[in-house]
């Protein structure tokens, strides 16, 4: 722990405005962003909670149609990617650059695997005529329509976050290669990690809500 007075003088005199480097500040900012993401998905969780309490039976029935095996595989994929992400940070702090890059590349790969799985899962649903606004779906009870509406909305938004995460990580990989992220300056990588773990946490909640509601 630093002394209370320490962080106040975070900006060395003479340095140009806007170029100060404040490790704890950058991390605090990222955490605040994490909060906004939590609340953003929170709105959808509210919607899910309300509709499930209104249409419990329909939700159970519709949930049975989701591919549980694929859901669990994707969970493990994402959990593992979180592990490799955190290992990448440990590696760079121990000055093992190549190892760090390897772990980060693994994380990206796992993120991509997740998206590919998701793609096949969605495609199968589309083949069965289950997509928002489809005639097949409109013929079913309201609760099931809502379930699939929420399913596509929430996993879609989550998938978008995974995609953004993979893109950001590719930038971080380039930073690592060019030594812009070093053992004593790794806040960018750490913040990417915070974001990636958040994406993981949200999936941790999506799994029981959608795949295990049967």
């Amino acid at each position: 722990m630093s002394a209370p007075a320490e962080p106040l003088a975070a900006e060395p005199a003479g340095e140009h405005v806007g170029e100060h480097r404040d490790y704890a500040g950058a991390k605090l900012g990222m955490w605040l962003f994490v909060f906004t993401e939590l609340i953003l998905f929170g709105g959808l969780f509210v919607a899910y909670g309300m509709y499930r309490s209104m249409h419990a039976h329909d939700f159970h029935k519709a949930s049975g149609e989701l591919n549980l095996v694929l859901g669990v595989i994707n969970t493990v994929v994402l959990l593992t990617s979180s592990l490799t992400m955190v290992l990448s940070i440990v590696a760079i702090r121990l000055q093992r650059k190549v190892q760090s890059m390897f772990f980060l590349a693994c994380t990206m790969l796992l993120g991509a695997v997740f998206l590919v799985n998701k793609f096949f899962e969605w495609r199968a649903k589309f083949h069965h005529g289950i997509f928002p606004g489809s005639d097949h779906l409109m013929a079913r009870p309201p609760g099931e329509r809502l379930f699939f509406g929420l399913y596509f909305g929430m996993t879609g938004l989550h998938g978008l976050h995974v995609t953004i995460g993979v893109v950001v990580m590719s930038v971080m990989l380039a930073f690592l290669a060019r030594d812009k992220i070093r053992h004593n300056d790794f806040i960018k990588l750490e913040n990417t990690g915070l974001y990636w773990h958040l994406v993981d946490v949200i999936w941790i909640f999506l799994l029981p809500l959608f795949y295990l509601a049967a």
């Binding site: 909060f35 969780f45 959990l79 592990l83 946490v201």
Partner: protein, 96 residues
């Protein structure tokens, strides 16, 4: 400059691998509970195991365990706000 002062912990690989194993095991348990077709057990899984998993990610992967008390409070506030939002909205839906 402040790295050493503010995040002294370089947690080793082993800790994180252990956490990962715990997470995978908990996922297995969660799935196992839900396919027993006992609604109570499945609900227990949802309300206990899932938050446990999330806290493991928060405390270890996201390093929260080693952060300052202020940051921990902020996380608590953010989560409390979310829970209150959900709770107040339920005050409508549960009694309609």
């Amino acid at each position: 400059m402040q790295h050493e002062a503010e995040s002294p912990h370089i947690v080793g690989y082993a800790t994180f691998i252990k956490v990962w194993i715990a997470l995978v095991l908990l996922t297995g348990l969660l799935v196992g509970l839900s396919i027993t077709h006992r609604p109570n057990l499945a609900l227990l899984g949802l309300l206990v195991i899932t938050p446990t998993k999330a806290s493991l990610v928060f405390f270890y992967f996201m390093h929260l365990k080693y952060e300052s008390a202020a940051l921990k409070y902020m996380v608590a506030v953010a989560i409390a706000v979310l829970i209150i939002f959900i709770g107040l909205t339920f005050s409508d839906y549960l009694f309609r």
